[in-house]
Each structure stands twice: as C-alpha cells, then as structure tokens.
Symmetry: C2
Subunit: 150 residues, 2 copies
C-alpha cells in the first residue's frame, strides 16, 4: 500500500513491470466470441499464414484489455482504496502484432496524479506492452484510472 | 461496398448505427476470465449493489472491445478490402457505466480518410456508445483502423 504523498513523489518515474501473460489461441478464441469479432486474422491459422503476420494474432483490444490485470500487478495500490474505475485513455497505438502463443507483459510509468477531491484520485500512467523475444512493443497506451477511496 | 472516393466524400458525416448488443452477466463473467480482471464491481452483485453503481457493471474495456463488431455493422466496407487492423485510438472516455443486463449500440461519424498508399487506407471515426433508456453515452472513442486492400 502507498500513501498519496508517496505516489505524487513518483510522477515521471517507472513504477514497475507485470507478470508475463500467455496469449494462447484459446484465449484469443474466447475473446473473439465474447466481443463478436471473428475476423479470420485472429482465428483461421491457414488463412492468417498467408498474410504478412504469418499466422493468427491477438485482437488489439485483447492486449489493451489485459492492461487492467497488468497494472494491478505492477502499479502501487493507494492506501484506503475502495475501487478503481477505468476512466479512459488519451492515446493508444498498436505497434507490433501479438502472435498467437506468445507471452506479453506490461511496463508502467506514472505520468500524473490529479486529486479531484479527497476521495477521488485520477491517475494517468503510460503502459508499454512487451512481447517476449520481439524488440518492438505490442502497444503503448496512456491510461486514466479513477481511484475511489473509502 | 463503397469506393474510396465515396468514403472520402463522407468525411464529417454520420455513417450509421450498429445493431443492439446485450451485455448480460454471462458476457461480463467471460470477459473477466479472459482478461483476468475480476474486480468485484463487475462480478459480485451483492457488493456492487452497495456502490454508487447500484449493481454490477460491464468492464469499460468490454464496451470498447465491442467497437469492432459495432463498426462492422455500421461503417461502409471499402471496395477490395483484404483485412482491417486496429491501429489505435486517439481518445477514449468512459462516461456512464453500462449496467449488467442492459443493451448498447454504437453510432459512428467519419473524421478522416488518410491514403497511406494505394493499398493502405487509415480511417479515423468517432464512435459513441448509447445505452438503451439512459441519456448519457457509455463511451466516446476516436478509433483508427488501417484498411488493407487486395
């Protein structure tokens, strides 16, 4: 647990790195069903092999949606937190596709801490998703999270 | 199917509205598992009822991830398209929570058509997600999609 003052002192700093998450084809298939996005590039190994990607790739939104878990792993938890709500993002860029079967993890840098009122703190962090054994990142995002204190 | 010239002539215009999508608790539960985000506000009806939300709500990232399906419903399809790849977003804001059991749909406005080369067209659209019987939108997003032509 981290005090607000401690968190504020870390603006501009790298906060941490998440655990690795495996992006297996099963996870991609389930994500396709739950979001109703069945484009062949995510599901059809034979057709995807004929594209520049060379095989099936994760949905960009799957990588992005894993940022909640990754930030939970890597970001300090504020003292007295009741819940954290996704407030939005200022910029998302998908840079390198995530091949089915690869592992990814997130690196986080604290950009801003905005005390809206004593019970609501809006945190802006830059997340960068690394793909194991690939130099380019999968994605960068500037995430906004509203932390509600008890 | 739409020609590039037709699409370019529609910059600044509203393009269409998707079908309704039901956000049942089963979909939210599956999304929680596939993204490893099990925060109580999405899953625990009893605990969520005690928050200002009054019950479980969808993950913001679930609403956002449904934009692929919704834009497929509502946006014109370019002549000769081979595949569409999520390029990123310039701004995402979650405005009103989506209660478990509600229905949502997307409205799309064309912001920009950028011809990167004869085979790659980057399309920017503003998506607004409506919740049935709720005045405020769930979310607004400026989406970037790279369309690859054959």
């Amino acid at each position: 647990m981290t005090s607000l003052a401690e968190l504020q002192s870390k603006v501009g700093e790298t906060l941490g790195t998440s655990e690795w998450i495996e992006i297996g084809q099963d996870r991609i298939n389930t994500f396709a069903d739950v979001t109703e996005d069945h484009q062949f590039i995510h599901l059809d190994a034979e057709a995807a092999a004929k594209t520049p990607f060379g095989g099936t790739i994760a949905h960009g939104f799957l990588t992005l949606s894993l940022m909640s878990k990754m930030s939970e792993d890597a970001m300090p938890v504020l003292d007295g937190i009741a819940m954290a709500v996704n407030y939005g993002s200022d910029k998302v860029r998908f840079i390198h596709p995530v091949p089915s079967g690869s592992r990814i993890r997130g690196h986080f840098k604290l950009l801003n801490v905005d005390v809206k009122n004593p019970k609501q703190i809006l945190i802006k962090a830059e997340g960068t998703v690394e793909i194991e054994n690939i130099e380019k990142p999968a994605m960068i995002v500037e995430m906004l999270t509203m932390q509600f204190l008890k």
